[in-house]
């Protein structure tokens, strides 16, 4: 029954492999990414937005939603275009949907700018890279910002495939036309983006852009409620998502 050194080393090696295998296997299977917090209880609401670009285009060169957002969140208007801070903005159709073959889509749609904002992805790459959890996904799906924690490393900006995040290269205060004391400004060196107006949603109100849009081109609602307006629209009409092939699961839908 003697055990030689060779046998002992073999056994020890096998034990070490078994001890580490579980973690690497689950990681390979992709299960390690699930957060314990979100699995604690099933989310009740999942906020999302449906954009109807045709309705938007009926109001030629209207910027009501953008203005309302800029005002509600004290968004600075920097003179240097490379320093632009944007939460909701207009962009070229082919820039918004670069993976879409738009040659045969109605040119009325593709030749005009389309609204872009943070997609509040279900699988947000910005959240994954943030080293301080200054950005994270709330239980209701909003990809929120905690400006107190942002250290300005801009990893999130590199990770976001939609350019939805802006960096304050300068002190924003002198570039805000009308300061609204109800919402704090940001400082130089902090990243910001659309938050689906979480401060308004917490009070039971709709996002500022949705309220401001006279054409009803922006519809906001709960994806988990089959009777909600967003679900009704998505049931009856076909919708695009920006760069859905990347696997980020964007939750802003564009009706075609």
């Amino acid at each position: 029954m003697g055990q030689d050194r060779r046998g002992f080393l073999k056994l020890a090696g096998l034990a070490a492999v078994c001890a580490t295998a579980r973690e690497s296997l689950t990681r390979l299977a992709g299960a390690a990414e699930t957060e314990p917090r979100s699995s604690a209880k099933a989310p009740k609401v999942r906020w999302a937005m449906v954009v109807d670009p045709r309705r938007c285009l009926e109001q030629e060169s209207c910027t009501a939603c953008i203005d309302a957002c800029d005002h509600a969140h004290n968004i600075p208007a920097f003179t240097n275009p490379r320093h632009e801070v944007k939460w909701i903005w207009k962009t070229r159709f082919d820039e918004a949907f670069p993976d879409q073959d738009s040659r045969y889509i109605d040119p009325a749609l593709t030749s005009e700018p389309v609204l872009a904002l943070c997609n509040h992805c279900d699988n947000p790459p910005c959240v994954r890279v943030c080293p301080t959890q200054a950005t994270w996904k709330r239980d209701d799906g909003i990809v929120a910002m905690d400006w107190h924690r942002c250290i300005g490393c801009r990893y999130c900006m590199a990770a976001c495939p939609y350019g939805s995040r802006s960096f304050n290269w300068e002190d924003p205060r002198p570039h805000i036309a009308h300061e609204d004391p109800d919402f704090p400004t940001r400082t130089k060196g902090v990243v910001e983006k659309c938050t689906f107006c979480d401060e308004r949603i917490d009070r039971g109100e709709l996002p500022a852009c949705v309220v401001a849009c006279k054409a009803k081109a922006l519809v906001f609602g709960d994806l988990n409620d089959p009777d909600s307006e967003v679900r009704r629209l998505l049931r009856t009409r076909f919708a695009l998502r920006r760069r859905a092939g990347l696997g980020t699961q964007p939750e802003v839908f564009y009706l075609v």
């Binding site: 004290n74 709330r138 929120a144 905690d146 400006w147 107190h148 300061e179 609204d180 004391p181 109800d182 704090p184 400004t185 940001r186 400082t187 979480d198 949603i201 917490d202 009070r203």
Partner: protein
């Protein structure tokens, strides 16, 4: 013993210098306590005054985290009263005289909370 005079003068100078804080205080009066001015007609702060004086920075941190990270905006005070958790919207509504109130203490203590780089302070005549 020829140096007695010099030694005694030296000692006297040393004692005078070493006790400088004592006679300075006797001449100019002890450092004044800061006197933060209350301008609101309200009788009480969010929590009892002693607790506020001691712990208002902890309270603000708790408010910040509850609002921003948990999305809850109503605070229930120890006595059951409810207030909206907001630095500009609540604290500064009752204490709009930031310079004579918050800063009166903070300048004395040489702390300068950086909150005002983002949170908008009430407009005041300087």
């Amino acid at each position: 013993m020829r140096d007695r005079g010099r030694i005694i003068t030296g000692l006297a100078v040393f004692v005078a210098v070493a006790l400088a804080p004592v006679w300075q205080a006797a001449l100019h009066g002890a450092a004044r306590r800061p006197d933060p001015k209350i301008v609101t007609t309200a009788k009480q702060c969010v929590e009892p005054t002693a607790a506020m004086r001691r712990d208002h920075m902890e309270l603000l941190n708790a408010w910040r985290d509850t609002v921003v990270r948990r999305g809850q905006r109503t605070y229930v005070a120890a006595d059951g009263k409810t207030v909206t958790m907001s630095l500009t919207g609540t604290c500064m509504k009752c204490h709009p005289n930031k310079k004579e109130f918050c800063d009166a203490c903070h300048n004395y203590l040489a702390v300068s909370p950086y909150c005002w780089e983002c949170h908008i302070e009430p407009k005041e005549k300087s």
